[in-house]
């Protein structure tokens, strides 16, 4: 699999030099930290984390200091003439800002799911254009995670966007607090001669950020 720049958020110039950050000496090998016995995990539903991190976290390239309120306007759709399905935006009336655009199956309607975090249950609202590298004509949508803004992660904490499983092409799937046990800070930490170019993502299995490499199981 090839890592595509389409979803990879452009690295900030003058990247933070601090590579050692909090991959702390006392954290031990991955997987040995603080998790209960297998099969006995008994944590409650994900909620906002309120205690601050017990370490000084370096600043990640991407994080969310404040909540966004999305632009109410949405550029017009781009249906392909000759395809089945809708023919204009006016036919897309089942939700907010309906737009008719081409898909694999003909022209289809899409809608803005939200304009602010409050409309997303426990999650947050990802505005079009706020997604680094992703086109600006998509729909606003709700994504999950365990925080909405940096202050949800305690003082000195960071709430950061994470790409998902099996490659980077899924775009941002959620926002998660950075932790003292994180194994990487930015994508540039995740280059491995045997595993290729990875990206730094939240790994729900270990509840920390770690390098993720672009391949699907098989």
């Amino acid at each position: 699999m090839r890592v595509r720049s389409a979803w990879v958020i452009v690295a900030m110039a003058g990247a933070i030099g601090c590579q050692s950050h909090t991959r702390s000496e006392d954290a031990g090998p991955p997987g040995l930290v603080d998790a209960g016995p297998p099969g006995l995990v008994d944590a409650g539903p994900p909620g906002l984390v309120d205690a601050g991190p017990f370490c000084v976290l370096p600043v990640p390239e991407r994080h969310r200091p404040t909540a966004d309120v999305c632009d109410m306007t949405r550029p017009p759709g781009s249906p392909s003439p000759g395809l089945e399905g809708c023919t204009s935006d006016a036919e897309c009336t089942d939700g907010a800002n309906g737009r008719c655009s081409a898909s694999r199956f003909g022209n289809e309607c899409s809608y803005d799911e939200c304009f602010s975090d409050g409309e997303c249950g426990g999650g947050l609202c990802l505005c079009r254009g706020a997604r680094g590298g992703v086109g600006s004509y998509g729909n606003n949508l709700c994504v999950g995670g365990n925080c909405r803004v940096d202050s949800d992660c305690g003082s000195g904490g960071f709430c950061a966007p994470s790409l998902g499983d099996c490659g980077d092409y899924g775009g941002i799937v959620g926002y998660y607090c950075r932790t003292c046990e994180d194994e990487c800070l930015n994508d540039s930490d995740c280059v491995d001669p045997m595993q290729g170019n990875g990206y730094c993502a939240y790994n729900p299995v270990s509840a920390r950020w770690a390098c993720s490499y672009s391949f699907c199981a098989g």
Partner: protein, 425 residues
């Protein structure tokens, strides 16, 4: 006895119809309990230790990965009742009534029966890789269909599970059954049969496009095609066909690219390390589960008989002349691998710097009649198409048998279809 001979001895025992096989159980017990044994067998199983797949395992399996915590989280199968249920709140907890695989570790009886039961359960329930992106394909029946996810007669959906993880949140995950199972004409799930419709690339494409992705930048995802998954982090577009697992014990090598010398312990190690890398090396499966899965898969090719030369003498003759130097009519593989250039099929999977060895392995043709897609990239859908010279322009390579005249070809196909197939019922 070398690993290879042990593997062959096992095949022989299985072929002889042995229901219990103490050799396999003893090897499994050693695999579970003896770290030196595991490491030695792992190192011995790699054909090209310098490729990324092998190098990673050689470097990390011993110390780093054995220190990982075993993972057996609460899971439950996704069912029809869940279709559309997670659209608004994908991270909503719902595994309350589910549970981890049982029994594992201390309680497991070390018998063929108990291990196969655990393996069967794990095949449908053990979370292989978190996949909330695929979970989004459960939004509607239509979305399921577009992604090629099955619904079986027990109302289970696509082999997906909901899994509770360390931070208490819940996610969709794929299991072996997502890729390696399909429903028969009565809706019953057939383990080991490739799901030829499952299209991870297209699911990802549709999702990204709907979120405003650029169709041109995403078009590569559509090059995977149904029944294929890009499994290698090697900076190349080289999706591999999901292998039909019935008959795995008969291939001399594992992976299309021939990465691993095949035997039961090598297979257990292959599955254990898959389950480590697919959670980004954060946990390892309980080894009992890895071995139970391996044994379960190893037994899948049982039954059937060698090619039926008595009923198809002309086809058997053609097979002997054009095919048998590589693929035995008895399911063996006399020439177990062939240089990529000599096969002549698309080289991208074979040349992967992650899994590649310079060769494509010769698949055993045991039960080939049941395979819905052929070759490493699934580019050929049937024996008829494979032997049809007209395809060579579009899909070159593996041209053996394409020069036959139509009558010879038809006979060859009839004979090849009997290899490993059940007979005389």
């Amino acid at each position: 006895m070398s690993a290879r001979l042990a593997g062959l001895a096992l095949v022989a025992l299985v072929a002889a119809g042995c229901a219990t096989d103490d050799g396999a159980l003893a090897e499994g017990a050693r695999y579970v309990s003896d770290a030196d044994f595991r490491e030695a067998r792992l190192a011995a199983s790699f054909v090209a230790p310098e490729n990324g797949y092998s190098g990673l395992r050689i470097e990390r399996y011993g110390e780093q990965w054995s220190a990982l915590e075993p993972w057996n989280p609460p899971v439950r199968a996704v069912t029809e009742a869940d279709v559309g249920a997670f659209v608004d709140d994908p991270w909503r907890p719902s595994t309350a009534e589910g549970g981890a695989l049982r029994p594992v570790l201390g309680e497991l009886e070390w018998t063929e029966e108990a291990l196969l039961a655990l393996g069967e359960q794990a095949f449908e329930r053990y979370p292989v890789q978190l996949a909330d992106t695929i979970g989004e394909a459960t939004a509607s029946r239509e979305a399921l269909d577009r992604g090629g996810l099955w619904v079986d007669d027990r109302a289970r959906v696509g082999g997906l599970v909901r899994v509770r993880v360390a931070d208490g949140s819940e996610h969709f995950a794929v299991t072996c059954a997502t890729c390696h199972a399909r429903t028969d004409d009565r809706g019953r799930l057939v383990h080991g049969a490739t799901n030829p419709r499952f299209d991870w690339g297209a699911i990802a494409y549709d999702r990204a496009l709907a979120r405003g992705g650029d169709p041109d930048a995403l078009a590569y995802l559509l090059t995977w095609g149904p029944g294929q998954v890009d499994v290698t982090p090697d900076d190349a577009d080289n999706a591999a066909a999901i292998t039909d697992l019935r008959g795995v014990s008969r291939h001399r090598y594992l992976h299309w690219a021939g990465t691993i010398e095949n035997d039961l312990v090598a297979l257990a190690l292959r599955l254990e390390t898959l389950l480590i890398t697919s959670v980004q090396q954060a946990r390892r499966p309980p080894r009992e589960v890895a071995f139970a899965l391996a044994l379960y898969v190893w037994r899948m090719g049982e039954g059937g008989a060698p090619g039926d030369a008595a009923s198809e003498p002309e086809g058997a003759r053609q097979f002997e002349r054009h095919c048998a130097s590589c693929h035995g009519a008895d399911g063996e593989v006399p020439t177990p691998r062939v240089r990529i250039a000599d096969v002549g099929t698309d080289p991208a999977v074979g040349e992967s710097r992650t899994r590649g060895t310079g060769f494509y392995r010769t698949p055993s043709l045991w039960r080939v009649v049941e395979r819905r897609q052929l070759l490493h990239d699934g580019s050929i859908e049937s024996l008829e198409a494979l032997l049809d010279p007209a395809r060579l322009g579009d899909a070159p390579g593996h041209d053996w048998g394409t020069q036959l005249d139509p009558a010879e070809r038809a006979a060859l196909i009839r004979f090849t279809r009997t290899i490993g197939a059940a007979r005389g019922e």
